[in-house]
């Protein structure tokens, strides 16, 4: 060894550590993958939000981002492909005092799970949906996804993508989300702030995070490694808070509009449920409480 590598001082603690299942680290993500970066932001947002961590649950689907639940030291659920949102819906409805975070990828949330996303947004279900958008199906080897931009090469689009991609933030707004933001993994401070903000916001909240997949997306498209991608984000991102989401579509190498686009108040699912039932049933309505069938 030509140089001496020093380990951390015994009394110093990484701020992300209390939020991780440390015995499961190192994680499975590739060098230069951005998912871990988003987890740092999430940990710091939890820290700042001062939430009771016993009352925070995290639900993931399948895929690289689907593994976040397994690393988070919270009540955590790694569900089936595409079904994180409906699972989270049941969890929230059975125990309304939980803060339920859905943490999953673009393919999981918008292709196989797309229908659930729009319906949960329509209901304004009180879920915080964090989507790490690496623009590809990474776990399975780099196939075209619902958010893969035009002209990109993937294993299932070897001659280039020609299907139009979803503009996720526009979709979220149109479906009824109360809060919509987009950042890249370069924007760690802003991302952590957005995550903290949604912890305090009621209703369906959506944060899209554009994130590198150097192994399967950037490499195949000659866009360099993870670090090159971060520099690219820095170069092409433009913060435009409040920008019309219809103008925020992504292209392979063009501008990435980031910022908070939507922050509005709509009645949440429980408010609507309780209002309707009270109007119709009056005193006969029994407001659902957190269930515990061990002592019911």
């Amino acid at each position: 060894m030509s140089e001496c590598l020093v380990d951390i001082p015994a009394d110093a603690i990484n701020p992300v550590e209390p939020y991780l299942r440390s015995e499961r680290i190192p994680h499975i993500w590739c060098p230069g993958c951005g998912i871990g970066t988003t987890v740092n932001c999430f940990a710091r947002a939890l820290d700042e939000s001062k939430l009771d961590l016993n009352k925070v649950a995290i639900v993931s689907g399948i895929g690289c981002t689907g593994r976040v639940a397994g690393y988070a030291a919270l009540d955590s659920f790694h569900t089936t492909h595409g079904r994180a949102i409906p699972f989270a819906t049941g969890l929230k409805l059975a125990n309304p005092e939980l803060q339920v975070v859905v943490y999953s990828g673009d393919g999981d949330l918008f292709a196989i799970g797309g229908n659930h996303f729009i319906h949960a947004a329509r209901r304004n279900m009180d879920l915080k949906v964090i989507c790490v958008n690496n623009l590809t199906y990474a776990m399975t080897g780099g196939q075209t996804g619902p958010a893969t931009p035009d002209h990109v090469i993937s294993t299932t689009s070897p001659y280039g993508v020609f299907e139009p991609a979803f503009n996720l933030v526009q979709l979220a707004e149109a479906a009824g989300a109360a809060y919509v933001a987009r950042w890249t993994t370069f924007h760690v401070k802003q991302l952590a702030r957005s995550m903290e903000e949604v912890m305090k916001k009621r209703g369906f909240c959506f944060i899209e995070i554009i994130s590198p997949c150097p192994t399967l997306y950037q490499r195949r498209n000659k866009m360099g490694d993870g670090l090159d991608t971060m520099k690219f984000y820095k170069q092409v991102s433009k913060i435009r808070n409040g920008a019309p989401t219809s103008e925020c579509g992504l292209t392979k190498s063009g501008e990435i509009v980031v910022g908070k686009f939507v922050d509005r108040d709509r009645p949440g699912y429980f408010e609507m449920l309780n209002a309707q039932m009270t109007e119709t049933l009056g005193d006969r309505y029994v407001i659902p409480e957190a269930s515990s069938c061990g002592d019911c």
């Binding site: 009540d75 409906p86 029994v286 409480e289």
Partner: protein, 385 residues
């Protein structure tokens, strides 16, 4: 533990099987249902949607059956007793989540009011052709329990039994109704709450430090937890170790998959639920379940009137299959006659269990209506010859 009185509609009612099933869920303590409309099962959740706001709980109509069958499981891990209801194509869509419930050991109930298939098939007409699907429909090896009521009263009673078994063994329980039983209206007696036994969820008494999510007790079933109680547990559909962490090794797979089946062994024969009559002198036994058992009853009576020594064995638990009971009967009789509304499903289990000791004669029917009892009678007559 007795039933929570808030959910129990004590009295004598005139209900169809679907509605009786709904009353069963409420009496069993279910306070959450997620569903998606599909004939002929929708009445179960229609009634639940009508009843639950004054009992205290949630019904949510989801965007499809995939959602309904996993929303239910989210609710279970949130602390509720929960179920979903479907039929035919909807049951096919739920298959992945039967596997998820099995591997995550999520106690929950799937109600399947069977209709004719395949595909859209016969939406308003009966069949019993989902029996193998209930057992084998999701990929991989796992265990489930399936119960087959043959009357609205049993739709009520067995729904409660189903919820109780789900809690005891931490498996998904299938209530395998059929269109006839679901839509037939009969007297249903709902007892007083203190006459209804309820199995409470067995939450762990261990501290979060000691607790391991899938560490089995002696009965091979692990204790339950729910989100929000400070355990910071992890649930995954991946092959997992006793901590609940993914562990994709041959050893972990072997241990996990075997336990998922083995934990049901005490239930398989010793506690199988069935109805038997006239087995003592029988030369032929009719093995049936669900609506077909009521048609078979007519055929049995006709045969007895002709002096044929015929007995009856009605499967109430279809899965795990009570193979020892069938084996014992097969050792004493000439033949087993198995009518069912499909082209031959449970008959294969009967054949397998009989192991050649007795002739096994299937009486298949493609569904859409029930058998003509004469057809079953004819099979009985041929069997004794």
């Amino acid at each position: 533990m007795h039933a929570d009185p808030r959910g129990v509609l004590t009295g004598v009612h005139f209900l169809d099987g679907d509605h009786a099933c709904c009353e069963g869920t409420l009496a069993a303590g279910a306070r959450f249902a997620a569903g998606y409309p599909i004939t002929p099962s929708t009445e179960v959740v229609e009634r639940f949607a009508w009843r639950i706001p004054t009992v205290g709980g949630v019904f949510i109509q989801m965007e499809d059956e995939l959602a309904a069958s996993i929303t239910m499981q989210g609710a279970v891990w949130g602390g509720a007793k929960a179920f979903t209801v479907t039929s035919g194509p909807g049951f096919s869509l739920m298959m992945e989540h039967i596997g998820y419930a099995a591997v995550t050991e999520t106690p929950c109930v799937f109600v399947n009011v069977q209709r004719g298939g395949p595909s859209t098939g016969l939406p308003t007409l009966p069949a019993q052709a989902d029996m193998m699907q209930a057992k084998w429909g999701s990929h991989g090896d796992y265990g489930i329990i399936a119960l087959c009521p043959n009357s609205p009263q049993e739709c009520f009673d067995l729904t409660i039994t189903g919820f109780n078994l789900a809690e005891e063994f931490r498996v998904p329980v299938m209530l395998m109704l059929d269109e006839c039983v679901g839509h037939m209206t009969e007297k249903v007696v709902i007892p007083e709450p203190d006459q209804i036994e309820i199995t409470p969820r067995r939450y762990t008494k261990k501290t979060p430090e000691e607790f391991r999510l899938f560490e089995p007790r002696e009965d091979k079933v692990p204790d339950m937890v729910k989100a929000g109680d400070g355990y910071h547990f992890h649930v995954t559909g991946l092959t997992h170790d006793e901590r609940g962490y993914p562990s994709m090794t041959v050893d972990t797979q072997d241990k996990m998959v075997n336990r998922l089946q083995d934990k049901l062994k005490p239930f398989t024969n010793g506690r199988a639920i069935f109805e038997a009559a006239d087995l003592e002198d029988a030369e032929v036994v009719v093995v049936s379940y669900g609506i077909t058992s009521r048609v078979a009853q007519r055929a049995i009576e006709m045969a007895r009137a002709k002096g044929i020594k015929v007995g009856k064995f009605r499967l109430i638990t279809a899965w795990p299959f009570p193979e020892q009971h069938i084996r014992d009967i097969a050792a004493k009789v000439k033949a087993l006659v198995v009518p069912e509304l499909n082209l031959g499903q449970m008959v294969r289990e009967v054949e397998r269990s009989a192991g050649g000791a007795a002739k096994v004669i299937g009486v298949p029917h493609a569904g859409g209506t029930v058998h003509n009892p004469e057809v079953i009678l004819k099979a009985i007559e041929e069997a004794v010859r």
